[in-house]
């Protein structure tokens, strides 16, 4: 029964007058981490769909990734995205020293590298379309394109967010709000790179080899 593990009621503290509650940044980061878990589930479901739709009959006798994937081209995308995450991380280490210019340089580098990634992706998609591979071609092509482009959409919104954060830090400096958001954005940007590892390995490379 509950009373057994409880303190002596005559001495118990009943109210915490000076309880300061939770730490704002840690609470927000935790919530954002939970959101990222749901984002991970979203990709997991897309990978499952891709797995089901990556048999040879899924391509309906059309082109398969073995025909249209260029591993070295996609590798440059990979390098651009990883360098972007690295630049972001270096920018964040400047935050610890309160170095605004250091953060800005990191964000700008991360943004430019992210744009390169996205540009390469869009070029790749247009190239595929020119060779007759669109979502309308086959179930396999649908799964390939939708999975990679959902990832690209995440990158697009991440780039938008980087721009917003550059403006906010420029205008307001390091406040609880801006630093908390920079941390959330960092988690987001890292997760997209981690997802990209799976996209690159299981969609591009595995598709190319099979």
């Amino acid at each position: 029964m509950s009373a057994h593990d409880s303190p002596d009621p005559s001495k118990a503290v009943l109210w915490d007058t000076h309880y300061h509650g939770h730490d704002v940044i840690s609470t927000r980061s935790f919530g954002y981490f939970l959101y990222l878990l749901s984002d991970g589930m979203l990709f997991a479901t897309l990978f499952a769909a891709y797995g089901v739709l990556s048999y040879s009959h899924s391509y309906f006798n059309g082109q398969t990734p073995a025909d249209f994937v260029h591993p070295w081209y996609t590798f440059t995308q990979t390098v651009a995205l990883f360098l972007s995450v690295l630049a972001y991380g270096m920018g964040m280490s400047a935050v610890k020293k309160g170095n605004k210019a250091g953060l800005m340089n990191g964000l700008i580098a991360a943004f430019v590298l992210g744009v390169i990634f996205l540009g390469l992706d869009i070029h790749d998609m247009m190239d595929l379309a020119a060779h007759g591979v669109t979502v309308q071609t086959s179930g396999g092509a649908s799964a390939f394109i939708v999975l990679t482009q959902v990832h690209a959409a995440h990158i697009f919104f991440g780039l938008l967010w980087i721009l917003v954060m550059m403006a906010q830090v420029a205008a307001k400096g390091f406040t609880t709000d801006t630093v908390g958001r920079l941390l959330s954005l960092r988690m987001f940007w890292h997760l997209q790179a981690i997802i990209w590892v799976f996209v690159f390995v299981f969609v591009y490379l595995w598709g190319y080899m099979s």
């Binding site: 509950s2 109210w15 935790f30 919530g31 589930m41 309308q136 086959s138 709000d177």
Partner: protein, 713 residues
Amino acid sequence: MLVQVPGGWNPLLGRLAIDQIPYTNPILAPLFVAVVIGAVIILGLITYYHKWGYLWKEWLTTVDHKKLGVMYIILGLVMLFRGFIDGLMIRTQQVWANGPQSSGVFGAVHGYLTPFHFGQVYSAHGLIMILLAATPLLVGFMNIIVPLQVGARDMAYPYLNALGLWITAAAVALIMISLFVGDFAHNGWFGYAPIFELQYSPGVGVDYWIWTLELTALGTTLGGINLIATIVKMRAPGMTWFRLPIFTWASLSANIIALTSFPALQVALFLVACDRYLGSHFFTAGFGGNLMLYTNLFWIWGHPEVYFVILPAFGMMSEIFPAFSEKPLFGYITMVAASFAIAGVSWLVWLHHFFTMGAGPDVNSFFSVATMLVGIPTGVKVFNWAFTMYRGRITYTAAMLWAIGALFLLLVGGLTGMMLAIPAINYMVHNSVFVIAHFHSMLLVIVYAIFGSVLFWFPKVFGFKLDEFWAKTMFWLFSAGSVLVFVPMYMLGFMGQTRRLDYVFNTAWHPYLVTEEIGIAVYCLSVAAFFVLLYVSIRDRVKNRVGQDAWGTSRSLEWLTHSPVPFYNFAVTPHVNARDELAWRRHNGINEAQPTQYVDIHMPNNTGVAIYIGALTFVLGFALTWRMWWLCLLSLVAIIALMIVRSWRGDPGYIITAAELEKMEREAMQRQQQVEGHLPHHGGQAVPGGAMAYEGQKVSPLGTPPSSGGDHH
């Protein structure tokens, strides 16, 4: 890139044209007139009484978790009513359109609904009841109760909470507008591949279905994040994990399910949208698509979703039984373990929705055994509730009746579920109304728990009790209706009636169908009793006012603050010393102790951004449904712009000073004292594990005066 749609399309209005408005439909046109008249009357009354400012300031822009919860519950009750009307229409069609001799009106050969219209009604019934009635009702209760039970001032993210509500409201608005503009999906609430593909369902019904589901999934995911973070991060000092009230545990397990499963639904529906809008081939019958991929993806969400709605209901029952048995909950730890066991197993059972897919004996055996495993933790819960009542001092309040009713239904639904878990039986009754009767038994467990909770927590939120006589009348009418509708349905299932029949060929089933229709009539009476209940209770509200601990036997932290709960929840954060904190304080005679010192508290500001974004998500859903591309782009850009503006401005919040707080607390105490004059005082009654029941007790004066005691005990 985009698919050529059948029928007209123009750049401005997309597919929307005047012939999409069903103004010639003999059912919808009068309904539309009635809705317009009703809306004009309501809006007129608000204007006449100058309530727009109040509505806007106190409700539409609020970030207060209790008000948001109340709005969730109102939304859920309205949709429960709409879903009930759909059910009534389905039952009436089946009893009418029975046998080749049956008459037909309104353009139907048999009955009064054409097959296409009937299909829309049953799709809407299923979707509404699960996602727009049960889910908002439960999310509403979690919203109100969880922060109070963990001793917090609000949810972890008050603004996100408002956003979740308004996005859910947008989903409701979208499905409601499908009544009068265009049509709704006719292919079942969970859809089927490939009938929802554009070539087989060329109308906008499926598109409405997609975007309604996407919006509600988004709203629920946001709500889930908020509730988990609230439980993990916002607990009052002393509220260790194993002092957490059981409803909060149930909410935590349910929201972990929501957070992990709703993305799967979003993806499944997004892929359907890709098929219909971009012409991809995920679920097409040709071009390398895979029909069963959809069914799997949907039920990978769908089954966890079932437990997402049942676990909070179990939590509610776990609060009601101890309060009215005057005993602590039996087997607290096992109850927690059982909730998480159910949440875990929920991920391993989805295939039992389609054993007939033909996956082979090994796969079917796995899912069959996994499904039966669910019976173990559920059985633990049933026995825990039974042992909670065993040798308890049971008070048969209306709330307790609903909880006990839920227990009986759980047995019926659970045991038929065990039958369905056996593939050999499942092959026989697959897609029959036996399955329908089974899952209605289970979902009625939720409805019973919800009505029990409405009665149980109503005094906490509004400060007065609901009328016991009418609540019990409603309970018995509702239970009679449930028996009359669903017992014949189980029988018909065994006789071979399949689900979703707009025409029932076998006249030998007529007596059963008539019995079900009588049951529906009894249900109508219980709905009427509910309205009388609300009317009588609000009329007699002064007489039925209650103090902090409305039932006198409640156990957890939400009963430690005033009723109705002030907007700041607790003037001073309580320090938790025991698992059932209030019961412990009452047991030791210190439940009336008040804090001696107040300090400034910080509260979030109201914001209109959440409702604007909600409205814009509705516009986005509507524009996507009708393929008005310019409006899609516009609303999407507006949503992002609003988010950026909100993030730029931030919310500094505001301060309630200690002096203001003390004044408000004193007034609340005075109100409480007036109320307690009519009610028993239950402090210091040393009944082990509980206190006196609230009925028939002698009135005694207040033991501890306000603003004394506290940390100086």
